[in-house]
Subunit: 198 residues, 2 copies
């Protein structure tokens, strides 16, 4: 826990959101978890929605750090690093927590434009990272010149989103999908495609 | 509205869930919407969770009807019909309603084993439909003999799930993804693959 009250409040919100969900979450629960009181929370955040916006901003910052400029000597390696970051680690409880909290917030988005706006930024950021890697790989000749980077990036973004939804909601392995997605990239996107599929 | 009280209650629950979300939903809201009272609801359903289980069972029945044995003379055509059913119709308010309600229920699944169980059935049913079509198409020679039907079926299921999540949460077009997915199938799964990609 940080010694910044606002940070402690956000950490408590994140914890409760991922452990118990949005539906039963009250400001009092957050106050109890952060060892503070309701008025301190309202001093920092005007409303419950503002608290969730601040949480999403913080999660976005961390997500952007994690996903930005993935390691790798080539675009193919960078794409693989990115997919490893995003899809593996089923057993990592921090990832589980993140995916569950994000699913909770996504389920609020249809009724809360401020949350929808932030979640759209998340989505765009990921899509753009993928598109850039694909476009760079096309320029270097590593990815096939016949792919359409923006469409493939959106397709991968949709799949990653679905893997996270399935993992958080019904506990379906994301590691397995990482393997299938890697195979798809090898067969479908690389300039020098593999011809045989296991 | 049906004249069966239990059905009316489920319809009211579905309506409120997709219009206002799970978080603020009370039995009183459902009673008001169904033009009945709390005790009638509790006469039919022991708890709020039981009501959602009954709703999921009903939605599953309708989903299975819609998705079962898709029309088409060949597996490729059947797959296309299925993807059209699942991915097009962004503007269809019934589809929007369904996707939003499902996202609400998925967000409850991490904390409610009975809901998770039902949602797992949905997922398995779709996966199995896709796997069967792919396997039949491999047997007839329409799909490439190098594909692995179970993995591809799960990959498509993850993507479809992601398309629905993105559509309900951040209003991203599912029609566009239908086009990309169709292209993926043509390039990647058919025995007689297209070589040029737009």
């Amino acid at each position: 826990m940080s010694d910044e009250p606002a940070t402690e409040i956000l950490e408590a919100t994140y914890y409760i959101l991922s452990e118990h969900g949005y539906a039963d979450l009250t400001i009092q629960d957050i106050a109890d978890e952060a060892d503070t009181n309701n008025s301190t929370i309202y001093y920092h955040y005007d409303s419950k929605d503002q608290l969730f916006v601040a949480l999403l901003d913080k999660l976005f910052e961390q997500f952007a750090d994690r996903v930005n400029s993935p390691e790798g000597d080539t675009p193919r390696e960078q794409l693989d690093t990115l997919l490893q970051i995003l899809l593996t680690a089923d057993a990592d409880s921090d990832r589980n927590k993140f995916r569950t909290a994000m699913l909770e917030l996504k389920a609020q988005a249809p009724y809360k434009p401020v949350l929808r706006e932030r979640l759209t930024e998340f989505d765009k950021f990921l899509c753009e990272q993928l598109r850039e890697i694909l476009a760079t790989g096309m320029a270097t000749g590593e990815f096939s010149e016949t792919i359409h980077p923006a469409s493939v990036a959106e397709y991968l973004t949709a799949t990653i989103t679905g893997v996270h939804t399935r993992h958080a909601a019904i506990n379906q392995s994301s590691d397995r999908l990482y393997t299938t997605m890697t195979r798809y990239i090898e067969e479908h996107l690389l300039a020098d495609k593999q011809t045989e599929i296991e």
